[in-house]
């Protein structure tokens, strides 16, 4: 039953143009396009465009997949009655949840290798086995954190329209305040303040450091890790509270 569920979960994702465009098509295209504009520039930590933005765009794909195909999808199934019909079947909630999580990890991993491959072909991105493995482990950790945060946020929505508007707006907010378009320290002060409250910004900074072998424990990284853990804990509390309230 699990294999069948996962197969159809992946098939459904591939048939949703909205998800595909925002997750698998737009971010890699933007990565390529921006590379043509800023490919020769150098960034913080003496890193090239590819070294800085390859992990960033992998994270952006991860965010897109998890917020759209996991979070928004939950709202869509809940509000249209699909969830109710599925709940009436003898399939366990655990099977559905694990399949959904695995689907997200498979798709985001595909995004990971896609952007990495583009980086190698277009921008001579080097492959360093230790950094690559450490980065992939970090990426899986961020996957888990984003799954929890997304699940908590979207469990608050009772209408699909509200969730759709939120998804589109939050995508823009994350793009600009997460350091995915241009370095945050080049942005206006208010954007920098918002960035401090954006978990994706902290993930992005950590992921760039891990990707390039520059990760070290200092005040800045501890603050970022602490903020991400805080967001996850608040999300778990929200999920627990809502589950109790629904019973």
């Amino acid at each position: 039953m699990f294999a069948t569920q996962l197969k159809y979960d992946l098939l459904m994702f591939s048939r949703e143009i909205f998800y595909m465009v925002f997750t698998i098509i737009v971010p890699p295209m933007t990565y390529l396009f921006m590379g043509q504009l800023f490919g020769d520039a150098m960034y913080a930590g003496n890193l090239s465009y590819a070294e800085t933005y390859t992990p960033s765009f992998i994270l952006l794909i991860t965010f897109g997949v998890i917020f759209f195909a996991f979070g928004f999808d939950q709202v869509m199934n809940r509000t249209t009655g699909v969830e109710k019909r599925i709940n009436l079947s003898p399939v366990s909630k655990r099977t559905l949840l694990v399949s959904n999580i695995l689907r997200s990890i498979i798709i985001t991993s595909f995004g990971y290798f896609l952007v990495f491959f583009i980086g190698m072909i277009a921008y001579d991105l080097s492959f360093q086995p230790f950094n690559f493995i450490f980065a992939f482990v970090t990426f899986i950790g961020f996957n888990a954190a984003l799954l929890v945060i997304s699940s908590a946020i979207y469990s608050l929505f009772t209408s699909m329209n509200g969730a759709l508007v939120f998804s589109i707006v939050i995508f823009q907010v994350v793009m600009f305040t997460g350091g995915f378009t241009m370095p945050i320290d080049m942005m206006p002060k208010f954007v920098q303040v918002i960035a401090d409250f954006n978990p994706l910004y902290h993930m992005n900074q950590l992921f760039i450091a891990v990707w390039n072998g520059q990760f070290q424990i200092d005040n800045s990284t501890l603050q970022s890790i602490g903020f991400i853990i805080g967001c996850v804990l608040v999300s778990l509390f929200v999920l627990r509270f809502l589950n109790k309230a629904r019973k």
Partner: protein, 239 residues
């Protein structure tokens, strides 16, 4: 054989007491219509039977098992014997009819061949269509085909023919009555169409203000002087 036994069932949503003490029984092979005006508690009653909703007081025994005593795993097991058709019916919109059948076959661990279901329900022309692109009538037929995949002991239909044209309504009822005769399965349904109740049901339960005001056979109701079930309904239920 008794499939459902309900006594003094009560359910409230906050201050709103929806069910105020329902008593109900269903034997294997019966087709029972649950009628009443909108807001009478029909859907809540059915959702409790579907094991979807908890209740505040009373007893609900499905297949001789008290629902409140069942663990989550046991509830999932019980659902193998129950199938439902909801109104409106929604399934994953980006799956095709044949894919939906395969997915639900896996859920129910069904031994019924997909091709047999497709043939039985005349779904061959629609097998590669997305569920979302089907007409309302065909959506209900697909929903019924999925419901029959499990060869359920109990079939619950929530306003199954609402919005269907006479041909599709007739087709749907042909499948339901054929299933009832072939398997001896119990059918519980809500509807606002009193002609269907008179034509196809063995028994009727009239819910009014959260109480089962009448629970009797069609013959029993008509023998008290009503010309039809529609006549009975209009005289019992005010706007």
């Amino acid at each position: 054989m008794e499939i459902i036994q309900v006594s003094n069932l009560q359910k409230a949503y906050g201050e709103n007491q929806v069910l105020r003490g329902i008593d109900f029984k269903a034997q294997a092979g019966e087709i029972i219509g649950v009628i009443g005006k909108n807001g009478a508690g029909k859907s809540t009653f059915l959702e409790i039977l579907m094991t979807l909703k908890p209740y505040d007081n009373g007893n609900v025994l499905l297949f001789n098992k008290e629902l409140t005593d069942l663990s989550t795993g046991q509830l999932e097991d019980t659902r193998k014997d129950i199938s439902v058709v909801l109104q409106p019916t929604h399934f994953y919109k980006t799956l095709k009819v044949v894919e939906l059948l395969k997915l639900f076959k896996a859920y129910y661990n069904s031994q019924v061949p997909i091709e047999q279901i497709i043939t039985d329900f005349n779904l061959q022309p629609h097998r590669k269509k997305y569920f979302d692109k089907l007409s309302g009538g065909w959506k209900q037929i697909v929903s019924l085909a999925i419901a029959f995949l499990s060869e359920p002991k109990m079939l619950i239909l929530d306003e199954p023919t609402t919005g269907l044209d006479p041909h599709m309504r007739n087709l749907l009822w042909t499948y339901i009555t054929e299933y009832n005769k072939r398997t001896g399965g119990t059918v519980i349904l809500t509807t606002h169409n009193m002609d269907e109740v008179e034509l196809y049901c063995n028994k009727v339960m009239l819910l009014n203000e959260g109480i089962n005001e009448v629970f009797d056979t069609i013959e029993g109701i008509l023998s008290t002087g009503y010309k039809s079930i529609n006549d009975f309904y209009l005289s019992k239920v005010s706007i």
